[in-house]
Point group: C2
Chain length 879, copies 2
């Protein structure tokens, strides 16, 4: 067997080797191949990372030898030597996974410096301040990243030094100051670690590579992976690259740029740079950078070369590029290129433009847009009228579009706490860092005082589709005391503000939001998606309003209309409670007869909105105690209205108590014990269908769905009640009406006996919420207490309630689909859990040949696009 | 296609046609074939019953025609004619299912009488009193059974008549009185039904047949079937048989007898008879009958003939027979024979005796004993010492052996209520009737004032293995006022009494019980069973005491040792609570270190008792809140002891609240979040094993079972903790010890991914309690509220927590077994749910090739016998 190769020079790779070299490494190799000015280096592969974990977090000797071998090759290429004071090779060590995970993992710059090298380096470059700045930065980064000493100790030392010297900015510190700081840093390192700071560059290099491997598993990376469906076994590659310096003086600089505007999609170079800075300074948002257009004036030749390279890269990759560059003493170096992250609006515009420019096909355009991103486009906006009256308290950069409002919070913890209590929050930070990622994910909006359009806050928020206003210069944030001032206004934690991420405006108080406007690019791309997909997309909607939104978003029917939501309304719940408290069948029927006209009216409204599309109506599902009052005054009210004693009401509430309500008296079990409920609901469904059919001249074909079935005879029993009632109603109305009766598959036993259920069910709809709960054996309400430990320990890598567990629950689903078709080859199959709008679940549903997915109205476009992508992928696989 | 035959003359059938003709019909046919004196008749088949239900409870015309055709044949055979006043054919119409369901379904006697016939009949028989008594009985039965008018209306009329006439016994009423009663009955019928009582015998016959078919589905039959695993689709046959009369006068009588004593197994004719009575009088226990031995004196010829027939029948059927006979004017008629129900002790003795008599093989002997019955044998008895001090308050017939104590109740409802609250009850009735069956099933013991050894109470109680004292003449029961007097003592509902069903003694108060003594027949039969079975039998035991009992009952290991039960003990729960309330890992470890020595000691005790048999120890399973106090004073105590505030304790309790605790933070989820618990438990398991191995010189091989696993990585994580700790402990003790790590399969996802789990699990144990709950999607604690409706509506026919749902849950179990073996061909497979002791589940486990079943100590012999029967059946199937 040939020995596996774990290290590649940039000149040995290319863009197709992304899985092995990671995105960054593969693209550096590709750019090298294209003859672009890339500082050379080598990539330690993702397989080496996997091996590191396999071997119990250890880089084995043969890989170490291979790394040193390639280090020597790099020395030859560069003509410099590691640790040679006269001509030292300095390198950066950066992570680079298969999928881009911006800021999630660690980076170390200026590696190769030590006491001896830095002295000579300072002399030779004739720039001792720069040399010592590089060295102290390296010690700081290495201590933090490799040895986990913690940045704050070093920052304290810097602050102390600045105070001693009476200066306020880092740049005001002299070479001597920085040298002294470097010594203090090393002393701090020794105090914390108990050993001297490593001076051997080879030891430094191995430490750094290990640290990058290890950072693949840091909590924020794990969280990011879970959010973005990135498997933990992919691992990260490590890129070891010759350093170039943007911080050698006024002829140097560093920047990032996109070939098109990542917020709007406009075809125009978009980016920022900072003169005399290292790359991290731009991304971190510590200094506010200049627009890329300014570079034209500052350094025209380098600008021109960069524009040409940008063009070439976009054409080469046939997609918008996100690039990093450094200029060292007027010479341009490319440090990275990748397909750029973009807002949903930009994604649509770029996709359409690229098709119009003849660069990509419609099929490819459909594949370039991440379905999840559409969410942002579809989110509500503020109403113009409201904005006129609103109090503007400040403005910042419109970093990520959308409208947001909520309680001000200053930390992830506070965000989680408030969200846990059902409040929306605006996360307010001086600047965000990867540690804030979970808080950002839960926030309705993000507001920062510092940082530009490519700052951490802006990039991450756009990726999430979360509204973000960044770099608001009038904002002062006191995170410690939980107070912010913006202009002359003071806000404490839990005060309300509103953000408009499309304009950068910040408003006092809580502004109402309204629905999104969807542009022409959206419609074009969706039309293309519809050409390719075979899976139908329905919606979960319980009222005419939601049904209407969904139809406008392209829903082709209702997959789940939850009838109980109708009963919770204030004008209905009294009758519902009477029904529950009824002591006889007759009393129950009396109460039900009050609910009948309301329910019929709801259905009529929904049928009208759906204008001929199929409507699946699920019969009453939740346990009855959910409808009963819990507060004393409500109980007293109810007792008065019903003319019974308070104690009697309390007794009934007590008797309805369940130990495990999720597994209790609910779903079709209610219809088995109280068939009169199913009778009333059938009557409402059929009467409404007859009325609307007559009114519109179009036959409404309702689909009645029996929930929580676990056994064929159970379904038979309820179906029998439905059929009998339906025929009575049709006779009464002298009209025949087609209707279907089917069942939800949400109990494991239903899936296991689906061949039998299919005898009576004309359709199945997979209720993957409950099916997941019962198959995993944990309830969604309670799992929060331990799921974090499971994520941290990498036992589960994603939330099984957001993304279908194809591996376990999926086996049941595909088994049930197969069994169902055995009995009834033309059985109609759909999915109506919340998973229905999740792209990876949509792909699975496409694979096992379901007829439709059903999801919330705002996710309909996502599902349409995901269905198209699934169909395209499946066709490719077939071909 | 040949036309299906739905009706058979007795002379057309035989014993092998049981499935088609029902037990009674097949045996009547067999006896006819043997030339025994059987009143002739015909049987409407079980298939006709199925057809009746299929056709929507309707007997179709072609079957009606066939019935009339056979009626004519019977008229020819009997030389009598239906409805002919001069020579009327009178018949009985009786149910007869494939399996005996004594008293569960309906019977009608004297059918064929009407106003005209009875008049002539009275004259011709010269016995008008008898004729009118037959007629009024017929009206009463027919009204009750066929038209559901309700017995009580007729009983009220009889009482009124007796009061008017100043008599106290039915027999004191004259022919004229009875004639008048018949007229009153018919008026009552007209008033209730709105039509005249049918005088056409053919109409009567069809009505009666339909009523018997319908009675297959009456609530008590449904309940009995559920208790006895009789499928509802079997249906019942209907036997239409010429009447013979035991109530024509002093030369007539009727009785029931067994070829051997059904209580002890003694080889001696055992039975009872009543002169001048109809069959129902004996069974109903209204009059106390005479011993069968008396018949020798009363009617020697008939007695002699009966003895000969009995002998012949027992030899023919090669089993103890239960026979009904009637003597009409000195002539003996056989009305029924069947294999007799018997007590467990009798069953064992009869099986051994029949082998010794050379009548059956050991294999056949093993097959004759119903495993469920052994339960009775194995139940506790009163201690002789306690009995000496006990206050005897009365005696009755020792109708069904065993000791019982509990609260006095007078109705099924009260029994269910008290049992629901966790109390044991003694059901006290004047005499029981099939309506009481559910109450009897839930009672610890049954006490009746009337009825003999073959009364309803006695027969049913023996079948159930429930202690019963019948026919206590000093007992007066006032069911209405819920009070009984026995001698001079008065007991109200909820007062305590104790019963000894082996002696017939009734005691005041609640006597303690002790374990059963097991006789030699038991050991012989069990030894034969062990020869045939291949499935091992283990026990569920959490302490040395239970483990010891189980070993004496033949357990071959512990399949489930629940470690949490140990923590609930009074001396341990404080440390457990400290552990739960700990705010740091260290504090948790400190509390755990207090539990370690106690747990280790438990395991040592168990290992010693099991003397080398394997012991499977399940790690902590229940949610932690189960261990916390709920009462204010306990909370205050705990706060004091732990030196924290009451509020802090309450906060913790509150924070541990779960919406669905069954699906919450429990099982291995505890070990994932608090690995130190698993460390302590591993340490206890391994240290104890090392200690006992050294002490006994025999190596203990513990099997550590991780509960509630749903995912491979979860098992890996916990297994890793176990392995690390185990090796530390072994190093500390300088001893290598083999041990296994496996998992419970009790979450559907575990079954679905069993191929993956088997990579890490050396054994699987199917936890069918939880697996059933999650597969059905209902919790055992809550299902009670709706399961009755499910039984009544025949959606479920048995309790899925008592008998494994082979159809649904079983699919998961066999899938998991198969998947597990794919990965690890020698994986050890067992079952440890409560189903492990259920014979039908044992058969299933044998079928899918599990290695063992595990059940509670008292069920071990049942499982051994069931395993033997399963193996014998499987061999027969193979052959």
């Amino acid at each position: 067997m040939e020995k596996k190769k774990y290290v590649y020079l940039f000149s040995e790779g290319n863009a197709s080797m992304r899985n092995l070299l990671g995105g960054k490494g593969a693209n550096l190799a590709e750019m090298t191949g294209l003859g672009m000015p890339v500082p050379q280096g080598f990539t330690v592969t993702t397989e080496a990372c996997a091996k590191y974990y396999e071997d119990g977090k250890w880089i084995n000797d043969s890989i170490v030898a291979e790394i040193y071998e390639y280090l020597e090759k790099l020395e030859k290429i560069s003509g410099k030597k590691f640790g040679d004071p006269e001509n030292p090779l300095l390198v950066s060590v950066r992570s680079g996974a298969r999928a881009s995970m911006p800021g999630m993992m660690d980076t170390i710059l200026n590696l190769g410096l030590n006491e001896e090298v830095v002295e000579v380096f300072a002399k030779k470059t004739n720039n001792p301040r720069w040399a010592w700045d590089c060295y102290r930065r390296f010690i700081q980064m290495y201590s933090d990243v490799v040895m986990e000493v913690g940045k704050k100790y070093f920052e304290e030392l810097i602050d102390k030094m600045k105070a001693e010297k009476g200066v306020s900015q880092d740049v005001e510190l002299t070479a001597e100051d920085l040298k002294e700081l470097a010594n203090q840093f090393k002393a701090e390192y020794r105090a914390k670690i108990g050993k001297d700071f490593p001076s051997d560059p080879r030891e430094q290099l191995l430490g750094a590579i290990k640290a990058v491997f290890r950072s693949w598993d840091n909590p924020r990376a794990v969280y990011y992976r879970r959010m973005n469906d990135i498997p933990s076994d992919w691992g990260t590659a490590v890129n070891v690259q010759m350093m170039v310096f943007g911080n050698t003086g006024d002829k140097s600089g560093t920047g990032v740029a996109f070939t098109r505007n990542p917020a709007t999609g406009e075809k125009k170079l978009f980016g920022e740079f900072l003169m005399n800075a290292q790359g991290e300074d731009v991304v971190a948002g510590v200094r506010t950078p200049q627009s890329i257009d300014e570079l034209k004036k500052v350094m025209p030749a380098a600008y021109q070369q960069f524009v040409e390279i940008s063009d070439k890269l976009e054409k080469h990759y046939r997609d918008m590029q996100d690039m990093e560059f450094t200029i060292e003493d007027e010479k341009l170096y490319m440090l990275q290129t990748r397909n750029g992250k973009r807002t949903a609006a930009a994604a649509l515009k770029i996709a359409c433009d690229l098709v119009d420019e003849g660069m990509i096909t419609k099929e490819e355009a459909v594949m370039t847009v991440d379905p999840k991103q559409l969410d942002a486009l579809l989110h509500p906006q503020f109403d113009a009228a409201d904005l006129k009256k609103a109090v503007v308290i400040g403005t910042g950069l419109a970093a990520s579009p959308g409208a947001a409002h909520g309680r001000v919070v200053f930390s992830t913890e506070a965000a989680l706490q408030q969200v846990g209590r059902g409040h929306k929050v605006i996360l307010v930070r001086q600047e965000t860092s990867p540690e804030d990622i979970e808080g950002m994910h839960h926030a309705d909006g993000i507001l920062t005082a510092r940082g530009g359009m490519t700052s951490h806050a802006a990039v991450v928020a756009r990726g999430m589709g979360t509204c973000c206003v960044a770099g608001c210069s009038t904002l002062k944030v006191d995170e410690e005391n939980k107070v912010m001032t913006i202009g002359d206004k003071v806000y404490h934690e839990k005060d309300h503000i509103s953000l408009d991420g499309s304009t950068g405006m910040i408003y006092d108080g809580k502004l109402p939001k309204r629905e999104a406007e969807i542009g022409g690019d959206f419609a074009r791309l969706m039309a293309w998606a519809d050409e390719f997909r075979t899976l139908k997309v329905r919606t979960n909607a319980d009222n005419p309003h939601d049904a209407g939104i969904a139809v406008r978003f392209g829903a082709e029917g209702i997959g789940l209309c939850r009838t109980e939501h109708m009963f919770f309304q204030e004008d209905r719940i009294p009758a519902m409670r009477e029904m529950i408290l009824a002591k006889s069948v007759q009393a129950r029927r009396d109460a039900l007869s009050k609910l009948l006209p309301m329910q019929r009216k709801d259905f009529e409204g929904i049928y009208r909105e759906m204008a001929g599309f199929p409507v699946t109506i699920r019969f009453l599902d939740p346990p009855l105690h959910e409808f009963l009052p819990t507060k004393e005054d409500e109980i007293v009210d109810l007792a008065k209205r019903m003319g019974v004693s308070v104690d009697e009401i309390k007794d009934t509430i007590e008797s309805l108590h369940e130990f495990n309500p999720m597994m209790g008296h609910r779903g079709c079990r209610l219809a088995v014990t109280y068939p009169e409920i199913a009778e009333m609901q059938t009557r409402a469904v059929i009467e409404a269908a007859i009325n609307v059919s007559r009114e519109t001249g179009k036959t409404v074909v309702p689909e009645i769905m029996i929930p929580l079935v676990g056994e064929e005879k159970e379904l038979q029993f309820v179906k029998n009640v439905v059929d009998k009632t339906a025929h009575i109603v049709m006779d009464e109305n002298r009209m025949e009406l087609p209707y279907l009766v089917g069942t939800m598959i949400e109990i494991p036993r239903a899936a296991l006996t689906a061949d039998e259920l299919a005898k009576d069910a004309q359709f199945f709809s997979f209720g993957t919420n409950d099916l997941s709960q019962m198959t995993f054996g944990f309830s969604r309400d309670d799992a929060g207490k331990f799921l974090d430990a499971y994520y941290n320990k990498k036992i589960y890598e994603f939330d099984p309630f957001a993304k279908l567990d194809v591996h376990g629950v999926g086996r049941l689903v595909s088994m049930a689909a197969k069994l169902g078709r055995t009995t009834r080859p033309d059985i109609h199959l759909g999915i109506c859990g919340e998973h229905g709008g999740d792209p990876s679940t949509v792909e699975f549903c496409n694979e096992i040949g379901l007829d439709y997915v059903s999801c919330s109205p705002f996710r309909v476009p996502i599902a349409r696009l995901a269905a198209a992508q699934a169909a395209i992928k499946a066709n490719k696989k077939k071909a």
